[in-house]
C-alpha cells in the first residue's frame, strides 16, 4: 500500500531523530562516567619549608576606628613588626610618586605606575596596575600586587606577600613575611635577586636567578627612573 511507504519514510526520519538522542540515553542508562568529577578531598598544598613561631595574641577588633591601634608581633627576624587593621582603600588614577619619608595609612590601588623614594612606610596593601619602583628602606606592612614590573631597592621590608605579573628585581636586604599572615613571592615572569633571601617560598614561572649585580639586568628605562627618583 502507498501509505506504508509514507510510514516507512516517517519511521526513517524519526529513527534519525532518535539516533540523535541515542548516545546520550545510552550513557545515561548505562553510565561509564556516572561518578562526580574526582576531587581528592585529602589534597593539600605542599607544606612550607619553615614553620614560623608566632605570637598567638589576637589582633584587636577595631571595626569603628579609621586608623587602628598597632599590635606588636614578633617576626622571624626578631624585630618588631607592626600589623594594623587598616580599613580605608583609596584608588589613585594615574602615576603616583611618593616622596622620601612619607607614611601612607591606606590600602592603595594605583591605576598607573608607582614610584617611591627612600624610607616610605606603606601601612596598607598595594595594587598597582603599572610598573612599581620601591625605594630603599621602604616598609610595606601588607602585600603588594603588581601587574607589570617590580623593582625593590635595598633593605626593603614586606610584611606579607609579593605578587607580580612581570619581572621582579630585588636588591639585597629584603625582609619578607614578618606578619602573622605569612609571606611569599610569586611572579609570572622571572625573579632576579642580588642575593638569595633564605628558604622562603618563591614561585616564578620563568625561573629565579641570583645575579651578583642587579644593575646588569635592569632595563635602561627602569634605570633612568631609579636614578631620577633616587629609589
Amino acid at each position: 500500500m502507498a501509505i506504508s511507504g509514507y510510514l516507512i519514510v516517517i519511521a526513517l526520519f524519526l529513527g534519525m531523530v532518535i539516533f540523535c538522542f541515542l548516545w546520550g540515553l545510552l550513557e545515561y542508562k548505562k553510565p561509564k562516567d556516572a561518578g562526580p568529577l574526582f576531587i581528592d578531598l585529602d589534597r593539600s598544598i605542599r607544606k612550607r619549608l619553615i614553620r614560623k613561631k608566632r605570637n598567638t595574641a589576637k589582633a584587636p577588633n577595631n571595626e569603628h576606628v579609621a586608623h587602628s591601634k598597632l599590635e606588636l608581633t614578633m617576626g622571624e627576624s626578631g624585630e618588631e613588626s607592626h600589623s594594623s587593621d587598616v580599613k580605608e582603600t583609596i584608588r589613585v588614577r594615574g602615576d603616583l610618586r611618593i616622596s622620601k619619608g612619607e607614611i601612607i595609612p591606606y590600602n592603595m590601588i594605583v591605576d598607573g605606575n608607582l614610584t617611591s623614594q627612600e624610607d616610605v612606610i606603606f601601612q596598607g596593601g598595594l595594587h598597582v596596575k603599572g610598573r612599581v619602583v620601591i625605594g630603599a628602606r621602604n616598609r610595606l606592612e601588607k602585600s603588594i600586587v603588581c601587574q607589570k614590573e617590580l623593582f625593590l631597592s635595598k633593605d626593603v621590608t614586606v610584611n606579607n606577600c609579593i605578587d607580580c605579573e612581570g619581572r621582579v628585581l630585588i636588591k639585597k636586604g629584603l625582609r619578607l613575611g614578618a606578619s602573622l599572615e605569612g609571606g611569599a613571592i610569586a611572579s609570572r615572569s622571572t625573579i632576579y635577586l642580588e642575593k638569595p633571601i633564605g628558604p622562603l617560598r618563591i614561585k616564578s614561572k620563568k625561573g629565579v636567578r641570583v645575579v651578583g649585580v642587579l644593575n646588569d639586568v635592569i632595563p635602561q628605562d627602569l634605570k633612568t627612573i631609579i636614578e631620577v627618583t633616587g629609589a
Partner: protein, 247 residues
C-alpha cells in the same frame, strides 16, 4: 601531571585553517554547483515521494522558484471544521492541565506549551482569518532546500572554532565533519519528502504545523549530537597523546 583548573589548550592553527579551507571549498561548490545539487536533491525527493505513494510532478524550473519544485496532482483536503474545533478544545484544556500539574517535568511542559500554542494559533488563523496559507509547497521546497545548503556551510563554520582548533588528530575532525554533512543531506531529503507527503495525506493545517516544527530550528539537534561524538573521540585521542608526552 595536569591541573584542570589552569589547563588550556594550544590553538591548532593548522587544523583550524584546514577547516577554513574545507569551509571555503564547500562554499565554492555550493555557489557554483548549487543548482546541480538542488536538482539532484529534488530527484531524490521525487523518488521518495513515489515510494510514499504521493502523486506529483517534478518541475525543474519555474520563474517563481528559480529551481526545482513539486506540483501535487491531487488537491489536498482541508481539515474538517469539527476536527479543528475539537483540536482547539483539546489543546486549550491541555494547557490548563499543564499549568496545574506539578508532576509533569518542566521540559515536557515547555514542549507541550509551544506545540499547543502553535497549533491553536495556526488552526485559528487558518480557519478564521486566512484559509489560504502564505506558505505553499513551492515556498517550502525553496526554503528547506536553501536552508539545507546553507546549513552545510554553517556546520563547517561551527566546527572550525569548536572542534578543529582543539588538540587532537586531524583525521578525527575531518571524519566527523564529513559524517555530519552526510547526515545533514539525508536529513534534508527525508524532511522535504515528509512535508510534501504530509500535505498530500493530511492536508494544509498539518502541513503548516509540520513545516513550522521541523524547520531549521531542529537542525541543531543533530549538529549537537555529532559535535558531541566528535568531541568524545577527540578527547580519547587527545588523552593518548598527552599520556605519551607525560611518559
Amino acid at each position: 601531571m595536569f591541573a584542570r583548573y589552569s589547563r588550556n589548550l594550544k590553538f591548532q592553527k593548522t587544523h583550524f585553517f584546514t577547516g577554513l579551507a574545507i569551509a571555503l571549498a564547500l562554499t565554492a561548490v555550493v555557489t557554483f554547483q548549487g543548482f546541480n545539487f538542488w536538482i539532484w536533491q529534488a530527484k531524490m525527493v521525487s523518488g521518495l515521494l513515489f515510494f510514499a505513494g504521493v502523486p506529483h510532478n517534478l518541475i525543474i524550473w519555474t520563474p517563481l522558484t528559480r529551481g526545482p519544485t513539486f506540483e501535487m496532482l491531487v488537491t489536498p483536503q482541508s481539515v474538517p471544521l469539527i476536527a479543528v474545533i475539537g483540536s482547539l478544545l483539546f489543546f486549550f484544556s491541555f494547557i490548563l492541565v499543564l499549568k496545574r500539574s506539578s508532576r509533569i517535568p518542566s521540559p515536557v511542559k515547555a514542549i507541550a506549551l509551544v506545540v499547543s500554542l502553535t497549533t491553536i494559533f495556526t488552526l485559528s488563523w487558518q480557519t478564521v482569518i486566512s484559509p489560504v496559507p502564505l506558505y505553499t509547497l513551492h515556498w517550502v521546497t525553496i526554503d528547506w532546500s536553501c536552508s539545507g545548503v546553507i546549513g552545510l556551510c554553517l556546520i563547517t563554520l561551527i566546527y572550525m572554532p569548536f572542534l578543529f582548533a582543539l588538540r587532537g588528530p586531524l583525521w578525527v575532525k575531518v571524519f566527523w565533519l564529513l559524517v555530519t554533512i552526510g547526515f545533514s543531506v539525508i536529513w534534508n531529503l527525508l524532511r522535504i519528502s515528509l512535508v510534501t507527503a504530509t500535505l498530500y495525506y493530511f492536508g494544509l493545517s498539518v502541513f503548516l504545523l509540520f513545516h513550522y516544527f521541523a524547520g531549521a530550528f531542529i537542525d541543531f539537534i543533530y549538529i549537537i549530537t555529532f559535535y558531541s561524538l566528535a568531541l568524545y573521540h577527540l578527547s580519547k585521542s587527545e588523552t593518548r597523546e598527552v599520556m605519551k608526552i607525560d611518559g
